[in-house]
């Protein structure tokens, strides 16, 4: 299935667009408090930018941007960030995921908001890593690839 026809238009456009998709993904994650968005949506956008480059440049060149072997560990790490936020609250005396118990910042009293942010980052990381990993694995599953 891998054709090595390089189409310069596709290459150029996708490499131009991919960073902006990624930037927009980050914006969606970090601006989820004030506008539609959040970890899952942003993570999907990040994954889209990675997969776009893999589609246009081929999986081998795409590796440079996001190596396949990072997929599963990063996904675990993303969920672990979420889990760790909850666990920190538990260890500091609250219920699991009770962000009010985590001293994110001494200055601001808005701890729950910080908790939501840290959780969203974990979600975004996990979703991006898993979607890319699933794409890679499904691609590898192609017969005689």
């Amino acid at each position: 299935m891998r054709r090595n026809e390089n189409n310069p238009i596709i290459d150029l456009i996708s490499s131009l667009v991919a960073p902006f998709i990624m930037l927009f993904g980050l914006y969606v994650i970090f601006h989820g408090h004030y506008s539609p968005g959040g970890g899952f949506q942003g993570g999907t956008l990040l994954a889209a930018s990675v997969i776009l480059l893999r589609l246009s440049l081929g999986s081998d060149l795409g590796q440079g941007q996001f190596p396949s072997r990072l997929g599963t560990p990063l996904a675990s790490l993303g969920v672990l960030i979420y889990y760790g936020t909850g666990l920190a609250a538990l260890l500091l005396g609250g219920a699991f995921l009770n962000y009010a118990f985590i001293p994110f910042s001494v200055l601001t009293p808005l701890r729950r908001s910080w908790g939501i942010l840290s959780v969203e980052i974990g979600v975004g990381l996990a979703v991006m890593a898993v979607l890319v990993a699933i794409y890679d694995d499904l691609l590898e599953g192609e017969p005689d690839a």
Binding site: P36, G37, R69, G71, L138, E140
Partner: protein
């Protein structure tokens, strides 16, 4: 066999339409879910979310506040689901690559 399958579909559709006779109209601002209290008099969660999400979770976006704070455990489950999918693809399909890496 085919007739039985179609019968299942018809029964399914019939059940759905029967259920719909009890639904409130779409967009009805006074339907049960949109009221302040449930039929038994206990407080309804959505009204609380709309009123107090800003004070309690310090977040303007109510959906984000529910997703990551009020019902944050669901979202942890959601992440776990997608991690599960990733691990399953790893378990089932990844064979050539790990072989290449080692050799």
């Amino acid at each position: 066999m085919k007739a039985a399958n179609v019968l299942v579909l018809v029964a399914f559709c019939g059940l759905l339409i029967y259920a719909a006779t009890g639904f409130p109209n779409r967009g009805d601002a006074l339907s049960v879910t949109n009221r302040e209290t449930s039929p038994a008099g206990t407080p309804n969660a959505p009204a609380h979310y709309i009123r107090r999400a800003k004070e309690e979770a310090h977040t303007d976006n109510m959906v984000t506040a529910i997703l990551a704070d009020y019902r944050g455990y669901d979202t942890l489950g959601e992440e776990t689901v997608i991690l599960t999918a990733g691990l399953i693809c790893y378990l089932l399909l990844r064979r050539e690559r790990s072989g290449h890496e080692k050799e």
